[in-house]
């Protein structure tokens, strides 16, 4: 696995950890530990932190898990690796756009930022950029390269 591929999986784990922590705080009914800006509880208790009654953090956790599995499938090579990469890229782009929307909500509607939300937004954006580079790279995906 190349460094870029490892970086993609690493960024996925960053997003996974942030989502897992926010899911935990939701389930355990505790306030997220938040830096001096202290907007986490406010953001997390807003209606935007739920999607059709499901915590967005939990959806993020599921999404990052799926992305990780797709990453493994794509980067191990094989006949279907290109398809896995395309699916991974599409889902990562969905995640990036939705994170951009949520960050917009934080900035212009709630006027409060949640450190973990912003962290995962940065992670998914970088991940998508690296996936685009990976896609456009002429090198094979798996270890069967030249």
């Amino acid at each position: 696995m190349r460094v870029r591929q490892l970086a993609i999986l690493g960024l996925d784990l960053v997003g996974w950890a942030a989502s897992a922590y926010l899911t935990y705080t939701h389930v355990a009914h505790v306030s997220p530990m938040c830096g001096e800006y202290g907007g986490c509880s406010y953001v997390q208790s807003s209606p935007y932190a739920q999607f059709m009654g499901v915590p967005v953090a939990l959806l993020g956790l599921v999404a990052y898990t799926v992305l990780f599995i797709l990453g493994i499938l794509a980067f191990r090579g094989g006949d279907n690796s290109d398809r896995w990469l395309l699916l991974l890229l599409t889902l990562a782009a969905v995640g990036t756009f939705y994170s951009a929307y949520l960050t917009y909500i934080e900035a212009f509607v709630l006027h409060a930022y949640c450190f973990y939300c912003v962290t995962q937004a940065i992670a998914i954006t970088l991940m998508t950029i690296l996936l685009v580079v990976e896609y456009l790279s002429p090198e094979p995906l798996g270890n069967d390269g030249p």
Binding site: H29, S31, C34, G38, S41, Y42, Q44, S45, S46, P47, Y48, F51, M52, D82, L86, L89, T90, L91, A93, V94, T96, F97, Y98, Y101, F108, V109, H111, V132, Y135, L136, P138, E139, P140, L141, D144, G145, P146
Partner: protein
Amino acid sequence: MSRRPRRKKRDPKLLLVLFGLAALIVLVLIFIASRPKTSSTTTYLGDIPVQGKTMGYPDAPVLVEDYSDFLCPHCREFAEGPEKKLIEEYVKPGKVRFVFRQFVLSERSLPAANATECAREQNKFWEYHDYLYAHQLTDAPFPTAKLKAYAKDLGLNTQQFNRCVDEGKYFDLVMKETSEGYQRGVRGTPTIFVDGKMIEYGMVWENLKAAIEKALQGGK
């Protein structure tokens, strides 16, 4: 041995299609997520936009936050005096967005705070807020029957409201906001923040007005 064939060059146009598809999916998700449910935009006092516990125009340059407790007499005095001036002089003209934040001083305040959140669920936070303060002198600490009666007076969906009150649905949210206030240095009520900065004796109109004017002029 010859080199393995390099992967055939991928089509960048396909990327555009996929990104377009992703954007479309997100737009649908946002549409679904933003359908009216617990908190949508409404108005207060005629034409002031309200979203949950925030009132004012979205592009108003200054943010004023009020940490208050519905059982606290000074909070009532603030709500009935300086807050009204704030709304008239700064919120209505689009200079200030005003946010209410829960800060319960004791467990006794939880039911009333929860009830205001139940009213928020039905876009009537500010109306309920005013109504509670108007009845504070006679009805505090607001027995459940009173909280439910107010909802009826204000024309809320009482079935939904009563269930919300009985469940203590927003106790967690109230406690979260209180602990967040505590982390921000709130130790008593009402405590006022202007653009994130705590204002000493901000419940006094002259102090609050001075802080807002300073913020409007770009001073922090």
